[in-house]
Amino acid sequence: MSDWSNAWSTLVSFFPPDLSLTYLWALRGPVLESLGMTVGAMVLAYVLSLPIGLYLGMRGPGSRPILWLLTSLRAIPDLTLAIFCVIAFGIGPGAGLLALAIFYAAALGKVLADLFQTAARGPMAALRATGASRAQVALYGLLPLKLSDVITYGSYEFECAVRSSVIVGAVGGGGLGAELVGSLNAFDFQRSATIVLILVLMVALIDFAAFHFRRRPRWVAILIPFGAYALYALWPHNITLVHAAHTIAGMFPPTLPAKAWATLPTLLLETVEMAVFGTLLAVALAIPLGMLAARNLTPFWLAIPVRRALEVLRAIPEVVWGLILVAIAGIGPVAGIWALGLHSAGCLGRLFAESFENVPVAPVNAIASTGASRLSIATYATFPLAIGPLAIHGLFRLEWNMRQATVVGMIGAGGIGQALYEAQQLFFYPRMMAYLIITWLVVLLVDALSQHTRRRLDGAHLAIEERVH
């Protein structure tokens, strides 16, 4: 009981947020730093990933190993990369920027490669028939054919990068994330609440900007000078490759002491449990919230506020939820489960609402025509008709949460992530490297498993469709 009352009194102490002008003014630096990190890293990521994506789209020689490299880079969580960069390049926004740039260059490279590989064959063959070189075909065929998709996916990644910028800040990458950790460690919870509010506003702002960029792609160009300046200002100035190489060499060979090997299964199990229960919690929250947010099930005066609430849940990344919940509920997997659950509930709630809205209208009308109540129509028609997409979204989320469970572990939620973070804090670099490699292998394994399951699910789904039509 006293646990609960403690948690409650901590929760209450977040309110009201500190909205004094002096504090808001003091936050301008961290906000600009986070924005600068994001834009700078994304400009760098686009510049790196566009040629890579085009090359892979043309299926140039050596495509397979490059694609494999991108996939494996992407399997390293952003927070882990940030820890790595902080060790190699020193604390500060420069390390955060580099971590973001590496992570999103790999992510974008993979996405762009997938996009370009699906380009229509006809126009490309016609271009090749003119005797054009590979690069010319890429510039005159691939890029124009897929430009709108490139911008759409690029802007989605941009939205993710804003949230990531706060995450990498939490482990020494500067910006708002560093500010948040500082305020939490000082038990200055009203200021932590302010920072979370600002984060929600920033994500909303970027959402808005990305929406307009998708409609008027030319405006993306205004980000380039801003990004170039951020790169110049935030680039780690005392970057010495010799020092970085030396530090990284010190992490090899990765070793785990015998005692650590013995606890490894427990740690892994804790991480898997966190992911599974976090996803289950998210699904349990997202089904009612998704129904309340679906325009065809709920009157607009209720659906719109529920949608806003889902956006807030989604705008706060798992790590930030984790930092807050560790402060409220104490260190341990419960905080991790809630951190994964709340953020995922925001994401799944929106996807579920869309699935409910995309249900075929006719069977719903047929049930309504029997005089059934709203709830009966929802349970007998809308819900069963949406069950396929719901399951696919849930599986995707489980895969994502497997990765995020190691990340929230690093900020005190237990499991292998926490072991990794403790090793880093104690400068046991070979041990840290060992945990890093194990996490990375687990994430790769889960990715492969989930891809396999989804392919089978999609196959089953298609089989049903074929039978019907």
């Binding site: 069977p363 047929a366 025509s369 029997t370 005089g371 069963p384 069950i387 019907v468």
Partner: protein, 258 residues
């Protein structure tokens, strides 16, 4: 058999933004237990009329009285009360394919079940409920498909399940939308015979839209004809709005002592 069950008065339907009304000044009366065919070329407004009767399409003006209740689609209580008495057999059957056949059949009972009852039946069915579903399926010769998944049935089988759903609803009026549109002539006769027999056995009124006037004459005592959103002919001789030719060549059924 002769009390008015459904009264339609000066019904006018025009969706917002449409240039002309889909239904214009439609008036008619259908009596309890009566079997009526609604014929006319496609685009005449037959389906819209059925949907308006059921409250699925909002009327611009006019009045619909069903079993003594005036339809008002702004009151969900009245709308549900009216719908409960009127079973719809949609043209494309519109089953919920991820559910079992018995769920789809017993969905006809949702109008009289409480929410708790409806939720319980999704997961746990009593023997008497399954018997009710089996009985309804038996009447459309589908009892052996009770436990099948609705998505696995052929089109014709799905139609029979939709008919069973209508029977479970225990309605006063069945609205059937083009039940034979996509069937070959032999199958079409079978389905119409089945529908008419079921309606007659239960004493339920039947309003059925059809493309083919000869099938209407053969199976239905009374035929309404629609053209460009207006009722043009009524074989029962009840004055339609704007008759364009002499009503009813062979009125097999007369209003009697109406």
């Amino acid at each position: 058999m002769t009390t008015p069950l459904l009264q339609v008065e000066h019904l006018r339907v025009q969706p917002p933004g449409a240039e002309r009304p889909i239904l214009e000044d439609v008036s008619t009366v259908i009596r309890a237990g009566e079997r009526v065919a609604l014929v006319g070329p496609s685009g005449a407004g037959k389906t819209t009329l059925l949907r308006a009767l059921n409250g699925s399409v909002r009327a611009l003006s006019g009045r619909i009285l069903f079993n003594g209740i005036q339809l008002d689609d702004r009151s969900s209580r009245i709308l549900r009360q009216v719908r409960r008495g009127m079973a719809v057999i949609p043209q494309k059957h519109d089953l919920v394919e991820n559910l079992k056949v018995y769920h789809n059949v017993m969905a006809g009972a949702l109008g009289r079940w409480s929410n708790a009852h409806a939720l319980r039946f999704l997961f746990w069915q009593t023997a008497s409920e399954l018997d009710e579903a089996r009985h309804a399926l038996d009447r459309v010769e589908m009892a052996n498909k009770l436990h099948d998944s609705a998505g696995k049935l052929s089109g014709g089988q799905q139609q029979r399940v939709a008919i069973a759903r209508a029977l479970v609803q225990k309605p006063l009026l069945i609205l059937a939308d083009e039940p034979v549109a996509s069937l070959d002539p032999r199958m079409a006769r079978q389905v119409l015979e089945l529908l008419c027999k079921l309606a007659e056995d239960d004493g339920v009124a039947l309003l059925c839209t059809l493309h083919q006037p000869e099938l209407a004459r053969e199976y239905f005592p009374r035929t309404l004809e629609m053209r460009d959103g207006k009722l043009t002919t009524d074989s029962a001789g009840q004055a339609p709005v704007a008759p364009t030719r002499s009503a009813g060549e062979a009125p097999a059924w007369t209003p009697g002592n109406a």
